[in-house]
Each structure stands twice: as C-alpha cells, then as structure tokens.
C-alpha cells in the first residue's frame, strides 16, 4: 500500500477496511478525502477484524471536536457562565489556531462535585488561561467546555496587582509578591 493518499484515491472495499479520519465511503468502497500520510490501525475487537484506515492531516487538526482538550483565555464572566476564546488545541496547546474560536463554560460544568455551590468569582477571572475539554459543539456561536476534572482548570492567572500567581491548592492561587490569595478552579499540573 502506498504510504500516503490523495483525495479520491481508492483505499479498498469497506468489507476489509474500517472508516477512519480523513476518509469517506462511496458505493461500498473506502476513499481518501484529504491528502496526507496513510495509517492503518489493526482492529482490537474480534467482531470486526478489519483494520481502520485513516489519513492524518499534515497541518494538524483544524477545529476542535467533542472531547478535544483546548487552551483558552477567559474574555468575560457572569454568575452563570464564563466566556472564553479557544486559542490552541491539545493539552499543552501544541496546535495554535489561526483565529480564536468563541466558547463558554457554564457554572455547572466548572467542577465535578458540589456543583450548585460554585461561585464564578472564586473560579475564573477575565484574562485567566484555562485548560478545558470540549463537551459539545454548542449553539451557533460558542463551543461548550467543561473543567470538571482534576487536570482541567486555570493554568495561568494574574493577581489584582497584576503579578503572575502560583497555585497553592486545588482552589487557590497566591501572589508571591503581595502574599494575597485568590480563589480559582486550579488545574492539577500535568
């Protein structure tokens, strides 16, 4: 098999190949739909022994999907939700987007426990850099995100005085210069 494919290239019948990313099915055959290197993952389940054929995009993912981890910056908050713009994809922000995408985190998606006691002011402030997970493509405007996991939440925050703060617990950052403590939904360092 060729190591890479071009759009419209026949990859084999659907009986012996499973559809993966970057491919499509037309009249019970699998075809490539983007140009890039081909990968074939052998099947792990016994019921469908066919390998999964996928093509990876040389430029990396273009848009977030459900379950993508993203890095974003809070743009606006109100008691019910925080708006942010998605700046990069991946847990470490490996793939920077060409332009920011609008998103929001609802109050009930901030943390996993004691959901109704969450106060927005103790979790996010405008300007915080946040790692979050996409839970839905959302409405016509914003993607819906969640930080309800230990490793998700604020990764960088600035104090009222304008200094970079360091995390001290799962719910607090401290400004080392002034000693002031501020509440945040802190991401566990990974």
């Amino acid at each position: 098999m060729a190591s890479s494919a071009l759009p419209g290239q026949l990859l084999g019948p659907t009986k012996s190949n499973n559809i993966g990313a970057g491919t499509h099915i037309s009249s019970s055959n699998l075809y490539a739909s983007i140009a890039g290197p081909l990968t074939s993952n052998p099947s792990t389940s016994k019921s469908s022994p066919a390998p999964t054929i996928s093509i990876s995009r040389p430029s990396g993912d273009l848009l977030p999907e459900v379950n993508t981890t993203i890095i974003g910056k809070i743009t606006r908050t109100n008691p019910r939700q925080a708006s942010l713009s998605i700046l990069a994809l991946g847990p470490t922000g490996a793939h920077v987007l060409r332009e920011p995408l609008p998103a929001l985190i609802r109050q009930q998606d901030i943390r996993a426990t004691e959901v109704d006691k969450v106060k927005m002011a103790e979790c996010f402030r405008v300007g915080d850099v946040v790692r979050a997970n996409v839970i839905s493509l959302g409405d016509e405007r914003a993607y819906y995100l969640s930080t309800a996991r230990n490793e998700l939440g604020v990764v960088m925050a600035w104090s009222e005085a304008g200094n970079v703060m360091v995390p001290v617990s799962w719910r607090e950052f401290v400004d080392e210069a002034t000693g002031a403590r501020e509440g945040r939904k802190v991401a566990k360092p990974v």
Partner: protein, 319 residues
Amino acid sequence: MQADRRRINAPAGGTAAPVFTFTGNEDLLQRPTRTRKADEHRKIFLRTKVVPSASGSAYYEIPPAKSTSSNGNLVPAASNLKITCTVHGPRPLPRNAAFSPNLLLSTHVKFAPFATRQRRGYIRDASERDLGVHLETALRGVIIGERWPKSGCEVVITVLEGEEDGWWGDQQQGSEKSGGWGMMSVLAGCITVASAALIDAGIDCVDMVSGGTAALVRNPESKTEEVVLDPSPPEHEIKAACVVAYLQSRDEITEMWMKGEVGEGTEFLTDQAVKSAMMTRTVLVEAVKEGLEVEGAVESFNGAPKAAKGKGKDVDMTD
C-alpha cells in the same frame, strides 16, 4: 452597476503601449497561430503554499508559447494566464450568522485592474460575479461539508493576467468580435487552482476536481471546423466552447458551461473538455504531491525520485 465613487478611477479604455502605423512592413502585425496539436494542452505551472498567512493557497500559470511571442514586436501576441487562489477556513462564522450544520462555502473571483487590456475596476463586475457562481457550483460538488459544522470557508481568487477574448490586433482595427471566450479558459484555471488550494488547506473533498476547456474552431484557410483542447482565443476563430469541472476517479462532472453554436457536436465537445480536464489533473496531482513533500509529511511519494523536488519537473499531460 454603480460607479466606483471611492477611488480616483483611471480612464476607461486600453492601457497597451501605443502601436504606430507601419509604413512598409505591415506584416509585423501577425495573428498568432496554434503550433501545438489539436489534442495538446498548453504547459501549466501549478504550485501550492504560496501565501503563508492563508490556510491554503495555490498559483496557476500558463506561460506564453515561445513561437507565438512577438516577432520583433514589443507587445506580446497573446496573453498568459496567471491566477492565484487563497483559501481561508474552516473558520468560525460571523457573530450574527445562524447555525449551519455544513461548511458554508463562498467564492470570490476578482480580476486585477491590470489583468486585461481593457482595465478592470476595483469593484467586482457582472462577469466576475458570474465566474464566482460557476466556481462555487464546481467546488460545492466535491467538498464534504458535513465534516465542518458551523464554520465557513472562503475561496478568494485573483486573476493577475486574464486570457484575452480575441486577438488584440482585431480590436485595434475596430472589428467587434469579442465573444467572451477568454472567460472559459479563466474558469477552467480557477477550478484547478481552487482545487489545489482547498486540498492544501486540508478540507475534505470526495475527489480532486480539475477544469478543462475545449472549443469548436473554424479554420479560416481550409474552411473546415475542428475541435481543439485548451483553445487560446487569439489563435482561433472560435465557434463554440465548453468548460467542465471533472472528477476523474468518480467520473462525475460538477460544473459545465457551454457557449456558442455547437450543432450536433455537443456530446463530442463535452468529451473533449473532459479529456482536457484529465490532462490538467495530472499536473494537479503532481503539485499536491510536491506540496506534501515540501511540508515533510511524506518522505517521497511512492518511491518517486527526491531529486526532482522543487525543480519544476515536467509532467507529461496524458489522460
């Protein structure tokens, strides 16, 4: 069409250098003749990744044939075709747009003001909008829009040098024979270059679409008619022409534009246009492969020699 009120406009009319009347050697003004065979395409230059700030881009050029370029005359006998295309997207829709489960495609075709002998305005005119609509139908059939919900994609084409509608010498002598034939080659070029740019942007397509033209031409000497591929309007007396956007691996046509009096030869003319599209596709395939190799995504394509990279290797256009 309202006048352009925002700029100081150049006077309407040609901007070619003045051609003075010849006294003795009138034959210097010679109509270019077709030197390639009837089923031969002009050479095409195509390259992707020309605009770093766009998600995908491509440049397409048909350089002038050597034999037809000026015989002692400063003004070239026939124009070249130079088209750039940039693709922006998939990008988020504007704030006020409604939810869309598909990718919203929009195409813009614009001639540069200096693209043709007759200066173009800065505002898109009717023919440019017409080309944009033709291009949009051609591309809509290949893009898999469901993969990109609530996002848009913009295909922007700038024609840097357009194909002429006829020989400029005819226009000089005042005979009105313009039939808009140049637009047909421009559209075929637009389709091919947009396809390359879309693939470069990584947008899912069912196939690689390529554009091709064929024309029914009348030979003024032998008074016979024949069908030629990739007509260059200054070289021919065109009776009818056809452009198709063709998907070779699916054997589908997403766009077809026919103009003129064909008579019974409609099907044959379309077939020849498809043949021309198959030839352009060979260049398109090589350009896309080269783009992948440049990016380092692929070591080399199916064991193709790596030495040829970036050196403008020639592709034999065969179908």
